[in-house]
């Protein structure tokens, strides 16, 4: 990232090609907009805010995009910028990308995350509820609210706790799926399997969990991992592909050992 302050006091002049699509059924296409005088200090989403203000003034429909926290943690935002999910910076969600990364006169293509399992709802907004369906099949520890044992009753080796935390920092944005040529969800599922499987609390359900989650992943139309690792490169939290290896190991062991009635997991 280029540091320091840019001295074009007039700001950046940009040409944007933005994917516009009225709803899930409509045909989409790129539309081109010229934006002038964008401050290099504003964020990518604040640049889109300004585009929307301009469109509104001109009586044209603003561009719909998802966002909420604008600090890289809720996983709402996420667009493909010049062919890259979340844009050019590593470990950076779309909302954390700043315009100082771009230059005066740049042309920028902005598209939604594309995957069969993430239907477009409007413009840059996609439906990622497939992730929730996968979690609902087994991405949890089956414990009711009540009186579990004292929190310190079960020590967890620090290394395991740290690795679990690394995996648990996934924000569920779906960039891994968007970046993968096969639209696989292996990094997302792998992160969940690692997070829960590395902790003693998650151990009893390990096998049922991995079988149930993978089954739902397939049912929702996610592809298979081709070991290309675009997912890790696009991940704003740099979730490691080692989680995919762990997912594969767990799955093989679980398939060999048992085939439970996965529908009832969670009872």
């Amino acid at each position: 990232m280029s540091g320091g302050h840019d001295h074009h006091s007039g700001g950046l002049n940009l040409t944007l090609h933005v994917w516009r699509q009225k709803d899930a059924q409509a045909e989409g296409r790129f539309e081109t907009y010229a934006l002038q005088g964008i401050s290099e200090h504003c964020s990518f989403l604040e640049m889109l805010d300004q585009l929307n203000e301009q469109l509104l003034r001109e009586g044209r429909d603003p561009v719909a995009f998802d966002h909420d926290c604008r600090e890289g943690i809720c996983g709402s935002c996420g667009v493909v910028i010049n062919g890259q999910a979340h844009g050019p910076d590593r470990e950076t969600a779309t909302c954390q990308l700043h315009m100082r990364r771009f230059h005066d006169g740049d042309t920028i293509y902005v598209e939604p995350f594309r995957a069969k399992a993430f239907p477009i709802q409007r413009d840059l907004v996609v439906d990622r509820s497939a992730f929730d369906r996968i979690v609902s099949k087994g991405g949890f520890v089956s414990v009711n609210t009540g009186a579990p044992q004292d929190a310190n009753g079960l020590p967890v080796p620090k290394e395991n706790a740290d690795l679990a935390m690394d995996a648990a920092s996934c924000i569920g944005c779906g960039a891994c799926v968007a970046a993968c040529p096969n639209a696989a969800a292996m990094l997302f599922v792998g992160a969940k399997i690692s997070h829960l499987g590395l902790l003693p609390q998650g151990a009893p359900e390990r096998r049922r969990r991995v079988l149930a989650m993978v089954e739902q992943m397939d049912r929702d139309g996610f592809g298979n991992c081709g070991n290309i690792y675009e997912c890790e490169a696009a991940c704003p939290k740099s979730i490691s592909v080692e989680n995919i290896a762990r997912l594969n190991r767990e799955y093989i062991v679980a398939s060999a050992c048992e085939r439970p009635a996965v529908e009832r997991i969670g009872d």
């Binding site: 990232m1 709803d23 200090h41 909420d68 926290c69 809720c74 996983g75 409007r122 929190a151 997070h195």
Partner: protein, 648 residues
């Protein structure tokens, strides 16, 4: 406006149990009615919002056997605003053996709130805090641990013990994922019906009891009704009334505001927390503000130049020309004074013309001395991710240039008034988490909001909801009821009205002006004259809004401008009540600082003789204009003696 107060109002029955403080919650639970397990599936509970409060409540109630419906504004419940909390969650475990106890957590919270919270509620909060940690660990929340594999704690402002549990700088994320997992488990089991991308737009009250809501499906715009036997609002705080705040962009007041207009009293609306360490505003395009964790004040030193208008770069300002004003004014707490004090002092420096940076609307938070003392690697280990976040946003490297920080709106202690059961003044309407006014008085301590949200959802509501379900006759009501049709019609009409204005200004643009007026007149320093000015500006803006708003498109499609417009319309009304409440409360307490009421040293001066109560406002209408009746719930302090806070 003149207000007549109804003291010890019959509308405000706190239902706090009596007896020894430490036995009250137990006693209350014993006295509460129960719904037997076989009957629970006959009751239908509607939960709005999926932050910590909503997700934990929905999961727990479904586990108990109730039928639960959840409305979620995002595409996934995991995205709720709670996800962004950084620092940690308090509990009275006393694992470090440093003298903590339930009583001490209770005491710190009452004192930190400047004696404007209900003692019995706060005691209960402290009591259940330990179970929250147990619950979260059992769910697989990866809290920080030491090399022995046991849980680690850190300390936070306003406390002298280390009682804060944390998961790196992402505690809110991890706690919410825990609650989300529990919720999704119930969804998978068919016990919870989850409706994503739904925004509640109004409350439906039938025969005086809350029986459901009307919501908008956000991708296609359909107006939908949801009927239930109890409604839980878990829709978070209203800090975004200021436009710029640390809250997520979707956080809004519509759910509680609509409920308020249907009869729920609003408690202490002016109690707002302004967090001292945020990244300052950099330009007119600014869409939100980013918090820099309070933990930075452990090592950073806050300063401004001694003389006005000193525009030298910080490395050119010698020690003798710097004013480390917090260390100067508060020798014993120094840079670690509570949030309200640190914020107010920063504003004073800027108002005196000693602010720094391009806009002169900031103060320095300097790590030079800490780096010299401990070395950069040590500082990186502690704060690396925060420094990186700062550099990403500002392009300045805090290892070499002091951070520029400024206070920003962060949290709202006010909210819908609730009794000890978390029930509002509308029977059957419960309010949980930041949306209610309950536990933090006039100032919330760090790491206590997460605790409260989860206490409400995991432990309080599962017990108290039976008071309503088993205690009242609830005739069957479906969405065919005339009242649902009536409210649907009103919601539709309102949306049509917003779409038809056809003016020139966007909702954001008008919202920004509202935020400026609030920040200037109802922010860190409030005065009677300033508040009157603020009120005039708010009213003028509200008229402009209804004449000059521009929303394009239709209601029957994904329409973000229409969503925003509805929220801003409600903020425009809520702002008026906040100003009114601030004007009414002629004392300074916690985050509410009235410049007329301060000690000689410039500290907040409470007036316990006249204001030791909750101000709860009842909405009425007079000739089409909003009016409010004031009800007071007196606060009594039996366990913690009323004293002036001192951090000198």
């Amino acid at each position: 406006m003149s207000t007549t107060a109804i003291q010890g109002s019959p509308k405000l029955v706190s239902k706090c149990p009596s007896g020894p403080m430490s036995e009250r919650w137990d006693k209350h639970r014993f006295d509460l009615k129960l719904v037997n397990p076989a009957n629970r599936r006959k009751y239908h509970v509607l939960v709005v919002g999926t932050g910590l409060a909503g997700a934990s409540a929905a999961a727990s109630l479904a586990e108990m056997g109730y039928r639960v419906t959840v409305l979620c504004i995002h595409d996934s419940p995991r995205r709720a605003h709670s996800i962004a909390a950084q620092g940690g969650i308090n509990a009275a475990k006393n694992y470090p053996n440093d003298g903590d106890s339930i009583r001490r957590l209770f005491y710190d919270t009452v004192k930190g709130g400047d004696y404007r919270a209900r003692e019995a509620n706060v005691y209960r909060l402290a009591q259940v805090s330990n179970s929250i940690i147990d619950q979260c660990v059992a769910q697989g929340v990866p809290f920080a641990r030491d090399y022995g594999g046991l849980l680690d704690n850190r300390s936070f402002g306003g406390a002298q013990v280390a009682r804060t549990f944390y998961a790196r700088g992402q505690t809110g994320q991890q706690l919410l994922i825990g609650a989300y997992h529990a919720l999704m488990r119930q969804v998978g089991l068919g016990k919870v019906a989850l409706f994503p991308r739904r925004e509640m737009l109004d409350l439906v009250v039938v025969d005086g009891v809350a029986r459901g809501v009307v919501a908008r499906e956000l991708t296609g715009g359909a107006i939908e009704s949801y009927a239930a036997d109890a409604v839980l609002l878990c829709t978070g705080g209203y800090g975004n009334v200021f436009f710029l705040s640390t809250n997520a962009k979707f956080s809004n007041a519509t759910a509680i505001w609509r409920a308020h207009k249907r009869g729920a009293l609003f408690g202490n609306p002016c109690f707002t927390q302004i967090h001292p360490t945020c990244i300052p505003v950099s330009g007119s395009y600014q869409s939100k503000l980013t918090l820099m964790s309070e933990s930075l004040r452990n090592d950073g030193r806050v300063w401004v130049p001694k003389s006005k208008g000193d525009r030298r770069s910080p490395d050119q300002i010698p020690e003798a020309d710097r004013d480390y004003y917090l260390e100067r004014l508060y020798p014993s707490f120094g840079n670690l004074v509570p949030r309200d004090i640190a914020s107010r002092r920063a504003k004073e420096m800027v108002d005196e013309g000693r602010g720094v940076g391009e806009t002169a609307m900031a103060v320095y938070l300097d790590f030079r001395d800490a780096i010299q003392r401990d070395g950069a690697p040590k500082i990186r280990e502690k704060y690396g991710n925060l420094f990186q976040m700062y550099e990403r946003i500002t392009a300045d490297d805090p290892y070499h240039v002091p951070m520029r920080i400024y206070p920003a709106v962060h949290y709202t202690m006010g909210g819908l008034w609730v009794d000890y059961n978390l029930e509002s003044t509308i029977p059957g309407l419960f309010v949980l988490g930041e949306a209610n006014f309950s536990d933090h008085g006039a100032n919330r301590l760090g790491a206590s909001a997460l605790m409260q949200g989860l206490a409400d959802g995991y432990f309080v509501i599962p017990a108290t909801i039976a008071s309503h379900l088993a205690g009242r006759k609830l005739p069957k009501v479906t969405t065919d009821h005339a009242q649902f049709k009536q409210v649907e019609g009103e919601v539709q009409a309102r949306l049509r009205r917003l779409l038809a204005i056809d003016g020139r200004r966007s909702a954001d643009d008008l919202h920004r002006d509202l935020g400026l007026a609030m920040w200037e007149h109802c922010g860190m320093g409030r005065s009677d004259a300033g508040l009157s000015k603020g009120l005039a500006k708010i009213r003028a803006l509200r008229s402009e809004f209804w004449e000059n708003l521009r929303v394009l498109g239709q209601g029957e499609e994904l329409n973000r401008e229409l969503e925003k417009a509805g929220r801003v319309a409600d903020f425009m009304e809520l702002a008026e009540l906040m100003v009114l409440d601030a004007q009414y409360r002629k004392e300074s307490c916690g985050g509410h600082f009235r410049v007329e009421y301060q000690t000689e040293e410039g500290e907040a001066l409470r007036d316990d003789a006249n204001f030791c109560h909750v101000a709860a406002w009842e909405h009425t209408e007079e000739g089409g204009a909003m009016r409010w009746n004031l009800h007071q719930e007196p606060l009594s302090f039996e366990e913690v003696k009323l004293t002036q806070r001192s951090y000198k």
